[in-house]
Structures are given as structure tokens and as C-alpha cells.
Symmetry: C2
Subunit: 291 residues, 2 copies
């Protein structure tokens, strides 16, 4: 059985065809311009390939409430060409197959939970730290939606004493994770991109302090059985041991579980080698057929 | 059909008999001394009353993992007489009925979700702010457990600029909700119990700042469709409008949903008039029979 996948990002649209094992058989990438320019190229690619369903993981915010009149829309995005755009409806009309739809980061969380580092784990989270911070939440094996999809990147944090004066990069929040610890915050604070700061120990210690603190907050609220860290900033793999140490230090033995005794297997990198997003789309398509 | 209920608290054990409508038909309260002194009184009360199942909501931490060898135990409690005590096993042996078991605050969350302010709401949270802070989480209509039960009372917060020097009352964490905003923190900070500070505006403004911030963090992680606030501190009902205003101000329009447009119906007091805990036990018993 073949499934279509669309990982809809703010700069590129990755389209793929895959099978029920999560194997990607073919893949293309299309720049994200306007819907008028970009959508026909996506539809051309997906049409006539015999897909049984399509999965779409999309930059947001998006409306995931199936009872809503604007279900399947991109809503209040700052990418104005896509504001209030009915992406699911447009694809539905053109392709006439069942469509699974979720946020980009829930898609990646689902890819990891199906074929990656959280395979077989009922309740897990996937955090991407890059130009922004996103948190995908899997509960009972499925992407979780409550009032809406979680927006854990905007969790409020306590400042490091050495970082009291830094002005948050988030236009909404003076002390949120994204504003203090995403890629643009690193660049603003230290005057260079993370990639040019590899040897500056203090950069990664402060970064680990914030990531570790956010993880503690996800642990006491969502109580995940495993945590996957991905995204550009986590490409600095020296962060992993530092983050684990911060979680250990900051939780201070308050949470006592077997998972906490082995943080090396609790806080882990993605297992899909960068394909967690597109593979998650395949699984979104499969879920739509109950597979 | 009759159900037994045991709300096991650190100072008293409330035992009750109720029916499938959540009506409490009879109730007693027993002081929490040692298991040897207290458990026989509980068993005497519940025995021979024809209950079909028993629900127990217990002070913690407790082991809720049915696959664990210590399922149904109170684990690392500071109440040493109850340390590693097999409360479910003891009741099971004496009463020989199915027993539903959860944390005290998950019990209250379930009581509210079944017969209180979150009736009919799929995903909700119940927060008790008293001598400690507890967060009960309902997902898909059931108390949520991941790695373990959530411990949201220990979420880390950003300090108010006027409160940088206060020493947290939590022995584990320098900046957690419980350490900064539970009853004992109020008393330590202002030198008097909350009940003696009713007219001090600045007390409740600071308290609302922390409660509101914690709520923002629960909103971006757990995305509840409604939030119930209970516990002794929330007896100061002047807090409700202040907390709603802090949530509005601190989230700063980042989360746009219909719930956010009407915080009066989103952040609400308990609807069971103080009986949410014991009623939750009735529902825990019913759940055990699939009712």
C-alpha cells in the first residue's frame, strides 16, 4: 500500500511517497512561495501515484479541531500568503483521498514514536530546538490535542543568574523557552551563530541550563516515558550530556522512577536520521485509514 | 449499586459509601495515625456494606504502575509510618472487591470531571493550592499517568522582580510553584497565614502572579479545555479575577482559542462543593468495573 506525505514547512515543502513500513520510496522538495505558486506543484507530484491516503504535517498555527469550520486551515501565521489558507480542503478536492493532518512537530513526534527512538513507548515527547522551539506530544501512541495542540516552546522559565539582562527574542514573552534558548536567542546573546560558537563552553552550559529546565517542566506536567531532542541547535551533540546533568541537578531527586535512574536512555536524539517529519506524515496517512 | 470510597490524606482518612450518581450516602472521618491503628478502622467501616468496588485516592507519592511489584503502595512519603505501605493490597485482602487507585489530586480531578465543573470536558486539569500544590490531569476523560502521575506542583517559575530574595519553602527546588506559592510560602513571606492577610492587596497580587504563570505553563503543555482551581488558598476567592488577568497578560494573546476569549468559564472553582475528592473515589471504583 502506498501513502503520500507532505511536510509543509515555512521555507520548503517536502513531498514523498512511502509504504506502511515507513520506507520513503521517492521524495522531492519544493520552495514555499505563495499557495498559488506552490500548491499546484505539490498536487502534480502527489496525483496519479495511487496513494491510499495522505498525511500532512504543517507549520502553524493550524486548526486541528475536526468539529471546527476552519478545520485543516493554517490560521494566524505571520507568513501572510498562507494566512487562513485551507490546505487540507485544497488537497482533498484535488486528490480525493483521506487526509491526516497535524502540526509539524506532532508529525515528527509521531515519526519517532512509530519508527524511531520512541518506538513502542506509549507516552513520549519530541522537542525541536532550532529557529523556534516546538514540542510534539504523544499520549497513548497518538499525537495529543487538548484545547489545541501543545505550544510547549513558549513555556516560561526561571532565568540563570548570569542572564538576567538578556532581552527575550520572543515577541510575545519576556521569559519563555523559545525567547531565551532557540537559535536566534543564541545568536543575539553571543553575537554569533551557534555553529560559530562550538568551542565556547559557557554558551552550551547556559543553553543546557534552559533546555534542562524546560525538560523538568515537561516531566512534571506531561510525565513522558522518553524524551527525544531534535532540531538544528541539538546538532551540537555536546549538549546531550550537559542537558541530562541539568535535569538531574534541577529535579534534585524529586522524581524517582527507573527512567530517572538512566537519563542516557531517557533523553535521546532522534532515531530517524532527520526523516522523522516525513515518516510521521506517512503514519498520519495510515492513522487516517486505521492502520 | 453501592461503591466504597477512601480519600486517604496525610491528616485524615475520609471513608464513604456512595452510588453510581455520585451521591454520598454515608461518610466518616478517621485521623491518620499509623497503618496498624488506622487501617482496621477503615476496614471495619467498609466491610459488610455490600460495596461492588472500592476507589482509593491517596496522598503520595504512590505507585500506580499495574505492572510494578509495588503497585498500590505508598512509596517515598515523609510520613514514615506509611513508607512503602501496601495500602491497596491490605484493603484487597480484607474486602475482596475490585479496587481503583490513584493520587489524591487525580481523584479530585476525576470527581470534578464526572460530577463537577469539568463534567463533559474530555481534557481538563484540577489544581489544589493548599499546604502543597497538586495537579490532577484528565485526558480522554480518565486520570492521566505517563512515566508516573504528573507532579505539576513542582513546575519551575520565573520570579516576580519584587520577590527575588525569598527563600523557597520547597526542600527540593529553589523556584518551583509549591515553594513560592503554597500556603506555607505565603505564611513565610508575609509572616502571617493567608487567612490573616485578606485585606493585603499586594499578597494576593503576587500570589496571582505565580498561580497565573503556572497556569500558562500548564496551558502550553497540557492544553486543557478547562481548569479547576481548589484547595485552601483558593478559598480566597478574590484570587480568581486576579489569576485570570495574569493568564491573559502573561500569555499575551499567543494562544488564540474560543476558551481564551472567555476566561471566566475557562478558569473556574470546583463544582462539587468540597466533595470532589470523595466523589472522585466513587468514580475510581466505578471505573474499575467499567461503569
Amino acid at each position: 500500500m502506498l501513502f503520500g506525505a507532505l511536510e509543509a514547512g515555512g521555507t520548503k515543502m517536502v513531498c514523498a511517497i512511502g509504504d506502511e513500513n515507513g520506507t520513503i520510496l521517492d521524495q522531492i522538495s519544493i520552495p514555499t512561495l505563495t499557495p498559488e505558486e506552490t500548491m499546484p506543484l505539490i498536487i502534480d507530484y502527489l496525483k496519479g501515484k495511487g496513494i491510499a491516503a495522505l498525511g500532512v504535517a504543517c507549520f502553524g498555527p493550524v486548526d486541528l479541531d475536526r468539529k471546527s469550520e476552519t478545520y485543516g486551515y493554517i490560521t494566524s501565521t505571520p507568513k501572510l500568503a498562507w494566512l487562513h489558507y485551507d490546505i487540507v480542503g485544497t488537497l482533498q478536492k484535488a486528490l480525493n483521498v483521506p487526509i491526516g493532518f497535524d502540526t509539524d512537530v506532532n508529525g515528527s513526534a509521531l515519526g519517532e514514536a512509530t519508527w524511531g527512538s520512541t518506538k513502542g513507548v506509549e507516552n513520549s515527547i519530541y522537542i525541536t530546538i532550532g529557529t523556534g522551539v516546538g514540542v510534539g506530544v504523544i499520549i497513548g501512541g497518538k499525537p495529543y490535542h487538548g484545547m489545541m495542540h501543545p505550544e510547549g516552546g513558549h513555556i516560561f522559565l526561571s532565568r540563570h543568574p548570569s542572564d538576567m539582562e538578556f532581552e527575550s527574542k520572543c515577541p510575545y514573552h519576556a521569559n519563555c523557552m523559545e525567547g531565551l534558548a532557540a537559535g536566534p536567542a543564541i545568536e543575539k546573546r553571543w553575537g554569533k551563530k551557534g555553529i560559530e560558537l562550538v568551542d565556547r563552553k559557557e554558551v552550551w552550559e547556559l543553553e543546557a541550563f534552559y533546555i534542562g529546565q524546560a525538560l523538568c517542566n515537561y516531566i512534571v506536567t506531561l510525565s513522558p516515558q522518553r524524551i527525544v531532542l531534535g532540531g538544528g541547535v541539538m546538532g551540537q551533540t555536546q549538549l546531550f550530556p550537559l542537558v541530562r546533568e541539568e535535569v538531574r541537578k534541577q529535579l534534585n531527586n524529586y522524581i524517582q522512577t527507573k527512567e530517572m535512574e538512566n537519563l542516557d536512555t531517557y533523553i535521546v536524539p532522534a532515531g530517524c536520521g532527520g526523516d522523522q517529519g516525513i515518516k510521521g506524515c506517512i503514519k498520519l496517512a495510515m492513522n487516517e485509514l486505521g492502520i
